[in-house]
Symmetry: C2
Subunit: 354 residues, 2 copies
């Protein structure tokens, strides 16, 4: 099925970011004609260097996805959209909820409005998140689990998911949502302090610092290697028909944070991990244990995760060790989570309202 | 408990609208010092004449709730906020989703941010809606029913509810949400074509036109008389402690649309109601039957609905017949649902984004 991508005109929003760039590289390798749309909002992980392997075969537009008038021709002529743009940090969202609303919700609504107007029926594969389920009421978490997010990022990603589902239900767009769990691998923005615990672990592994676990280490996670996530996006993009509009992705195994940290420490050759009490800002939005039920996407689209954590984290570590730019950037991290005060209101809503 | 309102400084957002004005009048009668905040967004039902009975004892600020800097002193000194501002029309939201997002979600987030900053711990009683539950998975619908809205209005009201619940959970505001079902009574904006079927029924009753029912008339609704809804807001505002943060309100009985229309037709002395096929724009967002389970608020706060439909609709009809302004306005309805093109983007997001 993936050979369908030969010559296919695909748009990748957020294509300079972690998952978006890995997807873009795969698409280019499959012979697709890829256009990346990325406005490089500070703090969201965009990095031009991520596309180094395909620099000559991919077009990059430095545009906000909300500005669909500037994207008109691209949207009209696209065969397929992978909608990966967004802010992923939960802690950012708690500090700057309105910024998160703009980036994850209002911009998505504008983008979908534009796509529905310019190209009715266009297929859009959207990167959702398990965070919308909040603290799981049961494990593993399937797609019928209620949306009960515990932070602004989860709330706004949940809103964007609902937008996609509504446009699909109204027959205006052929939208489908993949809810991601902790994705890890090459091209994460390790210099950003607020990009999830696996990014923090990888950074500390590279710097040979002790890993720290918040809480007692018993919480479960099902880390998903980025190549497996990319496979799921490609399969959802290429499926002739979509039996469902929402699919959960998960890793091949559920591991405790203690197990994950021990594996990482052994690979990095560093000291054993330490348990630490939860910092208050993390405790507030912690979700406890999580494991996805990915039966639906396996049954309906034939996807399953293939990369076990020990293999995946080793490959990631090898990637980062071979890339000097990570060492340089880690030595000089940006300002608070990469977001400066003047950038908290990217659409200048305050001015518009006053 | 309600005698606590004597001298209490209360803010009522959306206090020129249907439920907000009924609440404001009751508060003034109870001796509260009421300040109404209402920017009279076209299409949302605001009407200065609604506050005629208390014109001399209530302060009205013509302000957007999002503009909290202009409301700073009022928020700092308030004892209590009734947060009734919003757009209620589902059909408006489907035509202008971004307008609905601004009015129901972004403005609410700004308002809550401002309240949490200026007056930590302030109690805010928010007017939610049963529309967030979407097509019920079971009846009666309790507060554990998942949020599965089927239109933009339900999505954005659901978002505003989540904002309130999150601020409460974080301990920043003493917020509580009451999810309303079809509320009816005096002071509805009957001249607006998109304010719900009971508004349409009342308009046609006043004009002695035949009532029309979409579908086969078997769908259930549990209409709630506005005085009963106001009682619930007053009780939630005055409760010393709030055992829960989300309460469903409902009427005392579930009636089919056919039963409701027949009662209305008999009272108005008009012809028997007619069944009509659903117009496509209504069918898309129809939710089937609904009946609220209001056990939680009865048990925890002692509220229950008292006004049966026949009595409530009679009182409403008598109110409208005695008010010549309704007859005048009904003879000259506004433009499409009261919303002109230039008003669809009230915060001028398009200019800000370009």
């Amino acid at each position: 099925m993936l050979r369908n991508y030969q010559g296919m005109r695909t748009l990748v929003t957020g294509g300079l970011g972690f998952i978006g760039s890995n997807l873009t590289i795969r698409l280019a390798e499959l012979g697709a004609r890829v256009t990346v749309i990325d406005s490089s909002v500070p703090g969201c992980g965009a990095d031009e260097a991520n596309l180094k392997p395909v620099r000559d075969s991919v077009t990059v537009l430095h545009r906000d996805i909300a500005d669909t008038s500037a994207l008109e021709n691209h949207i009209r002529t696209a065969d397929l959209v992978f909608n990966m743009a967004g802010e992923v940090s939960h802690t950012h969202s708690m500090k700057w909820p309105r910024r998160d609303a703009e980036l994850n919700a209002v911009a998505q609504l504008r983008f979908l409005e534009g796509c529905a107007r310019l190209h009715p029926g266009l297929r859009i594969v959207y990167a959702g998140t398990r965070q919308v389920y909040g603290r799981p009421r049961y494990l593993p978490v399937d797609e019928n689990h209620p949306f009960c997010p515990v932070d602004f990022n989860g709330i706004h990603k949940g809103l964007a998911i609902q937008y996609h589902l509504l446009y699909a239900q109204l027959g205006k767009l052929d939208a489908v949502v993949l809810n991601l769990t902790n994705v890890y691998g090459p091209r994460m923005a390790l210099w950003e302090p607020c990009q999830g615990f696996l990014g923090v672990f990888l950074r500390r592994m590279l710097q040979r610092q002790q890993l720290q676990i918040f809480g007692d280490g018993s919480q479960l996670r099902d880390p998903l290697y980025v190549d497996d996530a990319v496979d799921a996006f490609l399969m959802a993009g290429a499926a002739p028909q979509l039996p469902s509009r929402l699919y959960n992705l998960g890793g091949p195994e559920a591991l405790s944070l203690q197990q994950i940290a021990e594996t990482c420490s052994r690979l990095a050759g560093g000291p054993a991990p330490a348990l630490r009490p939860f910092p208050p800002d993390h405790k507030q939005i912690d979700i406890g244990s999580y494991r996805a039920d990915w039966t639906r996407i396996r049954t309906e689209l034939g996807w399953q995760p293939r990369t076990h954590f020990t293999e995946g984290i080793s490959r990631a570590l090898l990637f980062y060790q071979a890339e000097p730019r990570y060492r340089l950037r880690l030595d000089d991290p940006g300002p608070t989570c990469g977001v400066r005060d003047e950038l908290q209101d990217p659409l200048n809503l305050r001015r518009a309202a006053s």
